[in-house]
């Protein structure tokens, strides 16, 4: 869906569901997912429908993901960090993570 205009800025290694993904400095979690061509980042807690980032400005809450073990983080507001572990969130969040 998206390509990078230029591979600028230092590469940052994160994992998404355990698989390595190369992000760039300046990426948010959500933009890193889009840049890596990842199709959806969660399924809804109501019907289990797949969702992906929609607004990228903190409004829609469709980019909720688990970041470093903490669920329901807004991916579009969180800058990537080296070694960050991102997981797609399936349905309702589990208490305690």
């Amino acid at each position: 869906m998206f390509k990078r205009l230029a591979e600028k800025g230092p590469a940052i290694s994160i994992t998404v569901d355990g698989k390595p993904v190369t992000a760039r400095a300046g990426d948010t979690v959500a933009s890193a997912l889009l840049g890596a061509g990842i199709d959806h980042c969660r399924t809804t807690p109501v019907t289990g429908a797949p969702r992906a980032p929609y607004c990228l400005m903190g409004v829609c809450f469709d980019c909720l993901v688990t970041v470093d073990g903490v669920g329901s983080r807004q991916g579009c507001l969180i800058p990537v960090r080296e070694g960050m572990k991102v997981e797609t969130q399936l349905g309702r969040r589990e208490a305690g993570r």
Binding site: P45, V46, V70, G71, S72, G91, R92, R93, E94, A95, G96, R97
Partner: protein, 379 residues
């Protein structure tokens, strides 16, 4: 169900109040064959039915008025049948569950106070016998594995349960709609008179006439009851609730201050403040509720709070229900109480048939007449 005024229609009963007490009573009246009109306020009404905690709760009930325990248990026992009837009519499941509920204590002092309350409650003369046990930390943990180390123990009552109260609210409205009951929002009742054997209720959208009137307007009953020779002394108070995002099921029993809904959200609450400003919220009160919730269930620490709200409790001056019929205005009744969820089954299945017949059954509800306030004042 049209929402325009029906000044020309004849109704058997006008129910004043479209909250849970009003709609449960109206549904029961409709089942008895009455032609019912519900007069409600609008979208911005101060509405306890949108802010309640949704417990169907028995433990602790009745300290100070022993018959209240029996009345509560009667409703708790009727609740399964009530929810089945609603499901038959609407297809909607209000998710009533009665797995038994807890009151959790975070210090020895709290646990001791809890034990004392239960002892005083169950030592009252004439109290119906029902079981509430005091449990140790380990006993609680066997049933609620996620409690934190600070929970020293608590009390457990097998009769306690909960329901999805917003769905109950919607389900009753849907059932009334299907029954053809007339629902008139934005019809705040300004005055009630009785002329030529019928009641005339003045609203901003015209006058509604009915043979009987049931006042189920929560704290507003204080204003309305004197219009028909009744009284409803109230002392409203504010409660605040914190609610989380939807979580996978982790809690099999409701706790009096914390419950997981069937949708997965966790409600945390049970504060009491004197304020009657429904728009105010005290952050420190929400913080206290959150702090205790995390101590009770540490796995909730990182869970997101999506909303907090305050609501005004419907509360009579002594906290117990008022069910009355007017001597001066025959056909006028009050149905006024806190715990509109717990008592919904009674209102639908016991109180409504009495109103339909035109007389309250003293053997069941005499202790709940507002006349008790005068007895106390005299004594």
């Amino acid at each position: 169900m049209a929402i325009e005024s029906r000044a020309d229609d004849e109704f058997d009963v006008a129910v004043v109040g479209g909250g849970l007490v009003g709609v449960a009573t109206a549904w029961g009246l409709s089942r008895e064959g009455c032609r019912v009109v519900i007069l409600d306020e609008g979208d911005r009404a101060v509405r306890a039915s949108r802010g309640n905690f949704a417990l169907v709760w028995v433990q602790s009930k009745g300290l100070g008025l022993a018959p209240y325990a029996g009345w509560t248990i009667r409703s708790s026992n009727a609740w399964r049948g009530f929810s089945d009837l609603l499901k038959q009519e609407t297809g909607l499941d209000v998710s009533f569950q009665r797995p038994g509920g807890f009151h959790l204590c975070l210090s020895e002092k709290e646990l001791e106070a809890r034990a004392n309350v239960l002892k005083r409650l169950h030592n009252q003369p004439g109290i119906v016998d029902y079981k509430t046990e005091i449990l140790t930390h380990d006993q609680v943990k066997a049933m609620l594995p996620d409690i934190g180390p600070e929970v020293v123990g608590g009390s457990f009552c097998p009769l306690d349960g909960h329901v999805n109260s917003l769905r109950l609210f919607r389900t009753l409205h849907a059932a009334l709609n299907a029954r053809g009951v007339t629902y008139l929002p934005s019809h705040r009742v300004e005055a009630i008179t009785r002329e030529a054997g019928e009641f005339r209720l003045a609203t901003p959208h015209g006058e509604i006439r009915a043979a009987k009137v049931a006042l189920a307007a929560g704290n507003a009953n204080m204003r309305l009851a004197p219009m028909v020779g009744l009284e409803a002394p109230m002392r409203p108070e504010r409660g605040q609730i914190v609610v989380t995002e939807r979580l996978r099921p982790f809690l099999n029993h409701p706790v009096v201050t914390l419950r997981q809904t069937d949708e997965g959200t966790v409600m945390i609450g049970d504060s009491k403040e004197e304020s009657v400003d429904p728009s105010g919220l005290t952050i420190g009160v929400s913080a206290t509720e959150a702090e205790r919730a995390v101590r009770q269930f540490p796995l909730l620490a990182n869970v997101n709070v999506v909303r907090t709200w305050s609501a005004i409790r419907v509360m009579t001056q002594d906290g117990f229900p008022i069910y009355d019929e007017s001597q001066t205005h025959p056909g006028a009744f009050t149905v006024c109480c806190h715990s509109g969820v717990t008592l919904a089954a009674n209102h639908a299945l016991t109180i409504a048939p009495m109103i339909a017949r035109g007389a309250l059954d003293a053997s069941l509800v005499a202790p709940f007449s507002a006349r008790r306030f005068h007895v106390q004042a005299a004594g």
